[in-house]
């Protein structure tokens, strides 16, 4: 077997990934190959040297030091969100103002429509004939005439609208 393939097996052997047959292959090759024996020694020494003997500890008060940093960052994040949204909102707002101005300038205002009293009542979903119903329902002619006179007087004095308002 070629040394290149053996090197792969050799490296896998350090992680205990070899099957029994592969281990046998590896050992048989290494027995008769000086170069691979050297390689194994070197890899083993490298892996041993990588292992740390003395692990330092983090500085004391880890959480106490972390907490103010979190708070500070929280404020910054909030400001960042506000900034991002405001940066997006500014052009949208400007666009709206522009559109509104354009609408005011280019769209001519429509003619004002004066509504009659019955029109106003219809708009308010009220029967415009309500006030005249009593007049129509009156059977005596002299009473009907009197009512007509009073209505006319009220309308002249501007009290008719008060009547409507009260009805509303």
């Amino acid at each position: 077997m070629k040394c290149k393939k053996i090197e792969r097996l050799l490296l896998q052997s350090f992680d205990g990934l070899l099957k029994e047959k592969e281990t046998e292959e590896l050992e048989n090759h290494i027995k008769g190959c000086f170069l691979c024996q050297e390689k194994r020694k070197q890899y083993q020494a490298i892996l041993d040297s990588l292992k740390l003997k003395d692990w330092p500890e983090p500085k004391p008060y880890f959480w106490e030091r972390l907490q103010p940093k979190l708070k500070e960052k929280q404020k910054y994040e909030a400001w960042l969100v506000w900034k991002t949204w405001s940066m997006r909102a500014i052009p949208v707002f400007l666009l709206l103002v522009l559109l509104l101005t354009a609408a005011l300038v280019f769209i001519p205002p429509g003619d004002r429509v004066e509504l009659s009293e019955s029109g106003v009542l219809l708009l308010r979903n009220l029967n415009p004939l309500e006030e005249t119903r009593t007049l129509f329902e009156e059977e005596k002619v002299e009473n009907k005439n009197m009512m007509l006179i009073f209505y006319t007087v009220e309308e002249k004095n501007g009290n008719g609208s008060i009547y409507y308002e009260k009805q509303l």
Binding site: K41, Q42, P58, Q67
Partner: protein, 191 residues
């Protein structure tokens, strides 16, 4: 309290729950940062920054993996960014270190075993730090931290097959870097 519960509370903004998670993982996160940087001061800073990143990334944590694995991933990625920035400086240090070692060859032979061992470790770590950052990370996770292939594949978000081939290439490259120092006859740093 269970870890899942602590994570859930932390997601809702409970600082005490997050403090408990920090307490549980600070050593592991610090050790991971330290094994990648070999600088305790820097490892402390990087560990703190990794926790800050994790805190603000918590809303995105969906419990698809263990919290620890997710935290290691954040730490590894954060330290990777640092290593990328630092890689140029490491190459310069390595060149200086290489020259220094060759000059001191004879002196080394006289040194005591403990010191030789110490120098060898230093050499191996110096060589490790000039490897591409992908290889540094995988060797650190496997050969220093001792994580299983499955765990590494989860942390780095790569397949176990990729973990296997990357470890293979990384170890080969590390040996290649160290070879110039190994060939010195009778040198005490001979392996």
């Amino acid at each position: 309290m269970e870890e899942k519960e602590l994570v859930r509370l932390s997601k809702e903004g409970d600082d005490e729950a997050f403090a408990a998670l920090v307490k549980k993982y600070k050593m592991k996160v610090f050790n991971l940062a330290y094994s990648l940087t070999r600088d305790a001061e820097m490892a402390d800073d990087l560990a703190q920054e990794a926790f800050i990143k994790a805190y603000f990334a918590l809303p995105k944590f969906r419990f698809r993996s263990e919290f620890g694995t997710w935290l290691y991933r954040i730490t590894v990625n954060h330290v990777r960014d640092y290593l990328r920035k630092k890689s140029r400086m490491n190459k310069m240090l390595y060149e200086g270190f290489k020259e220094n070692i060759l000059v001191q060859e004879d002196e080394w032979a006289k040194k005591e075993q403990a010191q030789i061992e110490k120098q060898r470790r230093k050499l191996v770590h110096q060589c490790l730090q000039v490897l591409p950052e992908n290889y540094q990370v995988i060797i650190t996770l496997r050969d220093i931290q001792g994580f299983s292939y499955e765990k590494i594949s989860e942390i780095l978000n790569i397949s176990p097959g990729t973990v296997d081939s990357r470890i293979h290439r990384a170890r080969k490259m590390l040996r290649k870097k160290i070879t110039p120092f190994l060939s010195q006859k009778g040198g005490s740093h001979e392996m």
